[in-house]
Structures are given as C-alpha cells and as structure tokens.
C-alpha cells in the first residue's frame, strides 16, 4: 500500500510537470503567433511614407537622451559623438557623469570644449548632489549637456537627467549604446501615432554589436560576434525581442522597457518619482509603476515597442560579467514583483494583473528556480530508483525539440525582418548555437538566476557588479 501511494504521488508529480510544460508550450505558441502578426502588421505599416520628412517639423517634440556614464573613459568620446549625430532637430544629449573615478569627465571636457554653466535644480528631488553642469562652447556641440554628480548609481543618474530635462520626452539609454541615425524619428512616431491613448513609454529592440565595425559613431558593418558567449546572447536576444516583447506589445501588456533603450513621457515619469534607486531592476520597476499610475488615474494609455533595430549594444563576453548581469536581473525581478505583489491576479489592473504579472512571476522568476530544483529532483529520484525513465527521457526530448524549434522560428523572423547576417555561415553558426544552447548557455542563465534569488532572499548585497567595456571594433 505504501509503495502504491508513492507511485501515485510520483505519477501526480509527473502530471504536474507535464501540465506545466504543456502550458508553457501553449503560451510560447501563442506568443509566436502574436509576434508574427505584429511583425507583419508593423512591416506593412512602416513601409508607407518617409519619416525623415518630419525631423525638422516645428511641431516635432523635444527629446532628451539621458546617458549615465560611470568609468566609461575609454569609449565615452566616441559614444557621445554617435549620440550627437542623430537625425532629428529638437533633441538634447545629457550625459550624466555618475561620479566616475576615471577620466570620463576630463575627456568629455577636452573633447567637446565644455565649460561650466550655472543652473538650478530642485533641491527636494531625491538624487545625489550635482557638482557642475557643463555645456560646450562650440555651436556644433550645443545639443550636449554634461552633468557631473556624485556617485549614486544608474537610477540616480537617470533621475537627475529626467529632472533637469525640459523636453517632453526623455530617453534613458546606456551611454555605450549605438543608436541608429533615425532612432529618434521612430521614437517620436511611436509616441505620436496614437490619438486615443497616451503613449507613456517606448522601448525597442536591442541588437548585439559585438564584433560589428563601428566608425565615427556609425555602424559600418554588421558581423556575427566572434565570442561564443555573445553568440548565445544574440540568439537569446533575438528570441526575446523579436518574439517575446513583440507579442506582449501586441496585446499591450509589455512590462519591461530595456534600460539600454527606453523612452518615457517625462511628465508621467516625474509623477511616479522617476526610477527607483533601491532596486537593481529599475527598468522593469519604473514601467510597473507608470502603468499602475495610469491605471489608478484611469487614463487610457499604452506602452509601445519598436521592432526596428535602432539600438546596438555590447553584450558581456566574459563569463563572470554575464553571470553578474543575470544575477542582477533576477534580483531586480524579485524586488519588483514583490513590491507590486498586490497586482497578482488582481482584475483591477486588467491584463497587467491577470496576464503580465503572472507571466513574469511564473516564467521569468519561477521557471529558473523550478528548473534548478527539477534537476536535483531528477538526480534524487534516480538515486532512489523511482525515476520514471521512459517519461523522463520523453519529456526532456519534447522540451528540447520545442526549444530548438522556437529558436529556429526566431531566426526565421529575424531573417524575414532584417536579414542582417547575410553570410550563410552566420546562420549556420546561430543554428548550431540553438542546438547546443540548452546544454551550455541555458544552465548558466539558470544558475545566475538562482544565485540572484539566493542573494536577495538572504540579503547578500552585491549591487550592480562591474562590466568592463571593450569598445566597438573600428571599421
């Protein structure tokens, strides 16, 4: 009887695994469908007309691009030059030097002929003290403002920029990001295209720039990264941005705007108090708060997503840096989800509470933990001799084949949408990455997530960690 009950229990565990897997498959299939529809719709829509005509319109709104810089000395001058060469008239580049210990500020001063100006700031705005504000003496750099402040972290730097900006929209980007010349035009179009809803935030695709050739702040040649770690991330980004976010954007349930390329309605961002400096997942958290605010105010709104490849960034090629990054992301997830836990299956928040939040909780946060525990359960069951080998092998292969199919599907849409990796060899390499990813890269990601959660639960504070910038390859 005892064995019988155990068997039944084990069978039920299998059923739970199967059900979880089936739900995930269903969700992913739905996601693929939604993203495909959205991609087709977007492509048809954006194929009509020429947006560059608008870049000098007197009605074109002002945008401030805020780029926090911390120890970015090796790349700062080139990166700022790239930001200054965007095709839009009414914009400002605000570099916030967040108490860098290297020569970031000095390089900016020398390269852009900066001088201190006097400016006022709201003393009650919670951010670290501003040391000085600089503007260039040269007209050609008149769009540039450099704020030198004491170190307070990325969120604090962004908040300073949001506060000091006077434009209607603010763009929060990583200073090492490379924006395409038309990026702001796309952003403005996205902010301005709705007449029935207020667009409070706009995010976009982040593309991997490792090994690409960049010259004078311009992307000269798109190349597949040479590093395998970067290649895996490229595949992962393709899946995430082209299928995941595209699908969430389709049903207006996008909950994250990437910190590397996010634009906000400044008024709403200020209303909610800007970025939260107490979390490392500030990009997720601010979208939660802005959405919550709009829900509470009962103002029709939306968060938009641009699938065009407008922002290129360098992803970590170093294992430790990657693990730290993913560790931070999972801590950020947990912090944000916990802070907004009242949204969980709360119909008051509509799709946000009933769909987006549970997805983030069960997939983005819980799935890596379950995977991790599942791995040890398998070992334990095998050790105890109670592992249902047939079922285990079958479901593992099913999951693997689905993951592989999904990755290939993402590559298919990448080719259809951009077709940027023109060499057949590049596609074959990415396919190979898709084949081996579940055994190589994915366990790393799972491990990082578990580590992040562990640190968060046991209050082991490690902050942001470090990321060493290599700088883009020159053309």
């Amino acid at each position: 009887m005892g064995n019988g009950l155990l068997d039944i229990l084990l069978e039920y565990i299998n059923i739970v695994f199967l059900t979880f897997t089936a739900i995930m498959f269903a969700l992913f299939a739905l996601m693929a469908y939604l993203s495909s529809r959205n991609s087709i719709h977007y492509r048809n829509k954006s194929g009509v007309g020429d947006i560059s005509r608008i870049m000098a319109s007197p009605l074109a709104p002002g945008i401030t691009i805020i780029a926090p810089a911390y120890n970015e000395g090796p790349t700062i001058v080139e990166n700022v030059r790239s930001l200054l060469s965007l095709r839009y008239v009414n914009y400002e580049v605000m570099v916030v030097n967040d108490g860098s210990r290297d020569d970031t500020l000095q390089k900016l001063i020398e390269s852009y002929d900066l001088e201190k100006i006097e400016h006022q700031a709201d003393p009650h705005w919670p951010c670290k003290p501003i040391r000085s504000i600089y503007k260039s003496r040269q007209r050609s750099f008149s769009k540039l403002t450099v704020i030198d402040k004491e170190n307070g972290g990325k969120s604090d730097a962004l908040n300073t920029g949001i506060r000091l900006s006077e434009n209607k929209y603010v763009g929060c980007i990583d200073v090492d990001c490379l924006l395409m010349p038309d990026a702001l035009l796309h952003v403005v179009r996205t902010f301005y295209q709705r007449s029935s809803k207020r667009v409070i935030a706009v995010g976009g695709v982040i593309r991997v720039a490792n090994s690409c050739e960049i010259d004078g702040g311009t992307l000269e040649k798109i190349c597949l990264p040479k590093s395998w770690l970067a290649r895996f991330q490229l595949l992962e980004y393709t899946r995430s941005f082209l299928l995941g976010r595209m699908a969430w954007g389709r049903i207006d349930s996008l909950l994250i705007i990437s910190g590397a390329f996010g634009f906000f309605d400044r008024e709403i961002a200020l209303r909610v108090g800007g970025y939260d400096t107490q979390t490392v997942g500030e990009d997720l958290e601010i979208v939660f708060r802005m959405r919550r605010y709009m829900h509470e105010q009962k103002i029709p709104y939306t968060v938009e997503y641009i699938p065009d490849p407008l922002c290129w960034t360098e992803v970590p090629e170093d294992l430790e840096v990657l693990v730290n990054q993913r560790d931070r992301w999972s801590r950020g997830n947990l912090e944000t989800l916990y802070r907004h836990r009242d949204m969980f299956f709360n119909p008051k928040f509509g799709r946000l509470g009933m769909l987006s939040y549970p997805y983030w909780l069960f997939y983005e946060w819980l799935a890596p933990i379950l995977e991790f525990l599942g791995f040890f359960s398998i070992l334990l069951f095998w050790y105890l001799g109670i592992l249902n080998g047939e079922f285990f092998v079958a479901i593992t292969v099913v999951v693997y084949s689905f993951a592989l199919m999904f990755s290939i599907y993402a590559l298919l849409w990448d080719v259809w949408s951009y077709n940027q990796y023109t060499r057949t060899r590049d596609i074959l390499i990415l396919l190979f990455c898709a084949l081996i990813e579940p055994f190589t890269f994915h366990p790393l990601v799972v491990w990082s997530a578990v580590r992040g959660n562990f640190k968060k639960l046991f209050n082991i504070d490690t902050g942001w960690g470090t990321q060493v910038r290599k700088g883009f390859a020159k053309a």
């Binding site: 870049m55 007197p58 008239v89 003290p129 006077e166 200020l270 079958a394 592989l404 298919l412």
Partner: protein, 726 residues
Amino acid sequence: MNIRPLTYRLFSWLQTPRIQTELLWELVLLFAGLGGVYLLLIFWMRNRISARREAIRLHKRDLAPMISNFLFYQHESEAEDRDTYIRMKIEIREMLKVPLNREVMTEVLMDLRMDVSGDARERLFQLFQDLELHQDSFRKLDSWRWERVSKGILELTEMQVETAYPFIRKFINDRRSVIRKQAQLATVMLREEGIAYCLDTAHFGISEWQQLKLLEILRLREDYSPPRFRVWLTSENRDVVLFALRLIRYYRQNDAETALITLLGHRNRKIKGAALECIREFRFVSALEPIKELFSGANEELKLLILDTIGLIGSERELGFLEQLALHDANFIIRSKARAVMNLLKPDSVLPQVAHQESGENNEPAHAIRQEAPSHPDLELPFEEPVAQEPVATERFVLWEPAFPEDEIYPAADSVFDPVKGTAPAHRMADQGHEPEWEEDEAIFDICFLEELEDILSGLDPADEPEGILPLDFLPIIIDPSPGEAAAAASPEELEVVAEQVAPEPARRVSGPDRRQDLKEDFLPWIVSEPSGSDLGFDKTPPAPPAAYPGSPPDGPAHFWEPIFELDELPQPADASDGEPCFAEASRIREEALQHFSIFRELFRHYDVESKLILLEQIEAVGEKKEWAFLHEVLEDPEPEIARKASQVIEELGRRLGLENAGLDHSKEPTPGEQSEGENPVFQLHFAPESNQDQTRPEKKASRAIRTIRRPWLPWARNRKKQTHG
C-alpha cells in the same frame, strides 16, 4: 473480500491517469518537423530576398538610364538622338509588359522624384502617367488588403496624379487607420483645398504624428495661402480643434482672440495648452484673467506656460499673484519661474542678494545648484550656505537668481517699450519712480548691446557663440511689447515723455527675439516683424513661418544648410533703414556676407567641366541675385565652354529676375542697397527653409538639383562624368 463502494471510489480517485508517453514522442516528431520546415524556410527566404533584390537591382540598372534619357531629353535634339529616344520608348513599353518591371519602374520613379526638381520633376510625374503606371496604382485602391490600398494612395500622391483626388478622398474616414491616414495626407497634398476638406470631414482622431505630417505637407506647398483655421475651432472633433490651433499659431492668424480665450476652458489639456500658446504668441492681453483662473487646475507644464504668458502680457498688477506662487507653491520649478516672471514684470522685485555674496566668495556654479538642499541628507554640502538662517522675508527672494548677469535681466524689463513708437505701456509709464531706473537700464543696455554687437562683428566663428552655454530655463524673457496694450493704455502725453527718455538702441535690442529661448525651442532666431499698433487686425498677407531649422530640410542634406544657419545668426536687417547705426553696420556685414554667398560656389570649385555646365543650368533654373557675383567670376573661367554658358545664364537669369539691362555688365550687379526689403537676400535666406514661396527657397531647390548630380547611382550623372573623364 467485499470492497465498500465509498472505499472503491476513493481508491479509484487515487488512480492516476496514465501518461501517454507515445504522445510525447509524437510531439517530438511534430516539433522536429516544424523545426525542419522553419529551417528550410530560412534558407528559402534568404535566397528569395537575395534573388529579388538582385533582380530589382538589375532592372533598375537597365531602367534608370532610360528614365534619365526621358527626363532630360531635349526635343530639339539631333535626328540620331531622336531615333534613339523613340526606340527606347518602344523598348520601355515592351519591358513594362512584365509585371515585375512595372513594379520596379514605379519604384525607380518614386525614388527619383526625391532627386530631381523643377521641370525634370514635372516630366517625371508626366512619365509616370504616360507609362500608365498610375493605372496600377488605381487598381491597388480596389484591393481588400489595406497595405496595398495604402501603397496605391502613396504612389498616386507622390507622383502627383491629381485625377486621383476624388478617388482617394473617399478613404478619408476609412475604418482602417493606415488607409485613412494615407488618404488624409493625399487629400492635403494633391489639392490646396484638401486641408479644408480633411478638417471638415475627419470623424476619427488625428494623431499628433499625422498632424506633423500634414503640417509638413502644407509647409512645403508652394504659393500656398492657408484658409482661416479659426473656422475649425468649433469642430466636434477634438483633434481637429487641436490641429487648427497649431495651424493658427504656425500661420500666425491672429483673428480668433475670443475663440482662443474660450478654448482655455476646454476640458482637454492639450487644447488648453495649444490655445494658451496661441494667446502667448499673439499677446492677447484680454486673456490675462482667464489664464490666471486656469492656473490652479493646471499641471506643471501648463503652469510654466501660463507663467511665461503672464511674463509676456502681464503687468505689475500680477505681482501679487506671482508672489503668492513664489512663496506658497509646492513645486520648486513653479516657485522659481514665478520669481523670474516677477523680475520680468518689475525688475529687482526679486533680488539676488545671497547669490551675489556667493559669487563673490566662490564662483563655483554648484552653489547655485545646491542652495536649497539642507533638508535632504544626500544634498548636504560641506560649504552649505546659511540660507536657513536668513530672515524669511529675504530668503524667499534670494534663491537662485544669479545664474544670469544683471545686464540680461534689465533688457527684459525694458522690453515693454514699443520699438516702433518708442512708447511704453501705461502701467510702466505711470510709474514715475522708475525714471532713474530707465537711465540705468539704458546704460546697461548700451553695454549689453555693444557686447552683443561685438560678438556679431567678430564674425561667424562658432566657438564664440554663446548659445551653447547659456542656461536655457528661467532666464528673464525679453518680451516683445504688446502693441495693443501699449496703444490702448498709453496716452499721447505719456508717449511723448517716454519717447524722450528712451534711446532707440535698447528699444531695438529688445524688439528682437530672445535668442536663448529660440535656441531652446528651435535653434534659430525667429524673425518677428512686430505688428505696429495699426496692424493689430488680421494680417492678410501670407504669413512668414516662424521658425527655420538648421541643417534639416526635409529632403536636403544637412551640410548645405549649415552656412545658411550661420548667416541667420546675424542681426536682422528689418529696421536697418531707419538709420540705426549699429544695426546698419551689422546689416551691412550681413548683406556683404550674403552677397558673396552662393551655394553653387563651393560645389563649382570641385566639379569637372560637364558637371559645372549642369550646375550652371541649375543656376539658370533656380538661381537668385546672389549668384550674380559668382556668375561673373565664372565668366573668366579658362574653359571657354563654361564661360559661354555662364554668359547665357547671366542673360537668362537677368531676364528672369527682371534685370533686363543687367547683361554682362559688372557694374549692373545689384548691390544690397538697391534691393528692396522684400528682395533682400537676408530675408530670402532667412525664410528660405520655411517659406511656401518657391522663389524664396532657392537653396532648397538648388540643393535638390545638386543632389541629382551627387547621387552616385543616378546613371545619367555617372555617365556624364565618365564621359568627361574618359
């Protein structure tokens, strides 16, 4: 053993459903199969994309020279050329029997339309219809797929098929948004009355982006006289009202005062804001009270706008209201702005005492930034000023005024003078206690003005330009006087008294735009010809668009505009005729600079003979008087063909510009002094990027024309170059 039914049920419930492992393997097969299909699709799609791209490239390579020949074919060509032309025409018609070729041809023509101008452009549009490609576009209108309909509308619009207007118009309220938007753009683009039709009939919302695009079309329309947009202020469509307000502001139609003031009470925040901007623009003093009433319910952005407006149209009577804000408003920015506006309305009403002390001790600008920080631990500073220890009455006024020097504040105060009449509004003139202050202001003005002038005279060195470093917010705004207010409030006696007190220099100085404000908003100074008291009625002449944008023509490369932008920074010559010495000098310099400035000059230097000849043709087509000097220089070109062509161009240009006697006589070269104000190149240059008048936009046309040569893929240009080099 008998099993009791209940036990049996419990036991059976504990039986787990059997998992069909076979099903899982079938799923594996399904996913693997799908993966395989996707894989094949990837390579098939890549091949297809590449093949199509290559096919289009080849087609374009074949078609482009033919099109160029069509466009630039001269009917008086030799027989051989005519023969070639006819054969080509037959050939092209044969080619167009293939659907892909028709598509490619349409694409080529659509691309080419951005690279040609003038006659060539007209011929291009004609060619599109001659080849019956517009029939394809018409057919697209009947498609059930919205993207095809939209594309059809786009083609018909861009290729100026005016007969399509009634067909496209019906889509203006289509439920499919992309089609609807495209139809709205087409309606406005194809006919001048399109905007009226669009605003009259639009049921759906017009997004801000759509408004931008519609305005852009209107801006680029040549010889356009806009309708009275106030008609649409009563529309039930909120977006139509909003757009009408923006158009009113853009075209400076100041005939809707009452409607604008009424709209301040609109529920929609954007409409309120747009109405307020119009009121500020047109300085409607009667709106002052409604504006103040609006303040309490406004958001920060609107509040700042309200304060700005009060600064422009208000008087010292508003000081009480502003002081309340400066003291009690919860928002730091509003408090600061209120203080700045108080200083505008009454100089020295907010004194920068502490800041002066600070700047005396230490010039670090961080002081100004950190002053109000004592309560926040993050903002505490080692050198914290004892602001909190100051008496409250002082403290409230000592916050952060020294960011700008005093001499930048005073002009703002004086700006309430009417520069034309030399008068000031009653509220200021009645205050006799201000007389010494006026004198002091004048002295400061003199210094300020001379400094400004020195900057101007120091040339166009961008490094000397102060715009890039000035603080852009909360600076005292140099107000343009409200002539209506001045005329209504000032008595003739007062006018006389003040006229004696006020030197013309400061009055003129303040009549100009606030350069810093302009920089912030649109980076170019506006040329605002302030209406005199008698001009308060609606201006019936086509309005000059208010702003120009450097380096950013919608279809022109930025570098062509750069010099124009710099020239625009020179002082405006509008008042130079009245003998004002400093401005006359500045105008002279400006005019001299412009006189020698020809967009063709630099290009000419680098081109081969063939290209130079083409350039000369373009000058003939779009040139202006300022090309005169340059053409005469070209007359001395060692290449006889060029000299001959230059001579022809001079004659033709002279005829076109009404300089019949100009001929080749250098002495007939028009001097700036000979030019009327309307023909003044300064004006032409400044308004060029924005004006609807084609004649006033030579640079743009030239840049388009020149781009035709610069585009490397254009075979006719390339071929000619090759021939020359060969």
